[in-house]
């Protein structure tokens, strides 16, 4: 298991993207799979960082990478409430934050094998992303 922790700042999302893409390449994933991994992990981290920002907290965002026999599981945990607002306003024309989260969740659901958001003990959410290894 590899664990990263970043301050809840937008500048660090790109760092996570680079690190995880590099881990993916090390497992011989093809370019498309690495791109999917980058986009999905970046979306989950963006949501986590903005979630903390919105909640006014300064809690770090943690990213856990676990490699199993036939899959990779990435868990991104925050202390915010952004996923609760998903679907408040689905209208794309609103351009609001919940419209962005709705797009983000659509991307996550489409790019990973399995995507789940669970509440965390003590507040916040944990997003679990499962990628196939083959």
């Amino acid at each position: 298991m590899i664990e990263l922790e970043i301050p809840p700042r937008t500048a660090y999302v790109g760092v996570v993207r680079l690190a995880l893409a590099s881990l993916g390449r090390g497992l011989d994933l093809d370019d498309e799979a690495v791109d999917d991994l980058k986009i999905a992990v970046s979306e989950a981290c963006t949501n986590a960082v903005l979630s903390n920002e919105e909640a006014g907290g300064d809690h770090p965002v943690s990213i856990k990478w676990t490699q199993e026999a036939e899959r990779i599981v990435v868990e991104v945990a925050d202390r915010g409430t952004i996923y609760d607002r998903r679907g408040d306003d689905d209208s794309l024309s609103s351009g609001g934050i919940s419209a962005r989260v709705t797009m983000s969740v659509a991307m996550l659901s489409s790019l990973v094998d399995d995507f789940e958001i669970s509440p965390r003990h003590g507040g916040g959410s944990s997003a679990r992303l499962v990628f196939p290894l083959s």
């Binding site: 937008t10 500048a11 498309e32 791109d35 980058k38 970046s42 351009g95 419209a99």
Partner: protein, 113 residues
């Protein structure tokens, strides 16, 4: 991480050539540039995404916001993109139905005929 933004005029269109990664950190820079263009009277905008390596939901939100702004002035916003990995994002989110997406700046500005 830098986002390159170059603006040029092609006939009545303002073409924004974007280079780099559009994510939650860099998207505000693109948003500012597009707001500036519209407020200066450029209502027909082409955003060229051929030099973009990465696009996230924040970038999509900026493009949707810019589309709203130009539409309020009876203008247009179209995109140039041929990269599968970027097109995939527009397809997944259903935005291929919202934005005209062209293969080249010439096509977007009607200079391919």
């Amino acid at each position: 991480m830098e986002l390159g933004l170059d603006v040029r005029k092609v006939d009545s269109y303002s073409v924004v050539d974007v280079k780099g990664e559009i994510d939650v950190y860099t998207a505000p820079k693109l948003r500012e540039k597009l707001i500036e263009l519209v407020s200066e009277g450029s209502h027909d905008v082409v955003v060229n995404l051929e030099g973009v390596d990465f696009l996230d939901s924040t970038g999509l939100g900026v493009l949707v916001g810019a589309l709203k702004r130009v539409k309020a002035h009876d203008g247009s916003l179209s995109l140039v993109c041929t990269q599968d990995k970027i097109l995939k994002i527009f397809k997944i989110t259903g935005l291929t139905k919202v934005f005209p997406i062209h293969d080249s700046v010439d096509e977007a500005t009607g200079n391919d005929r």
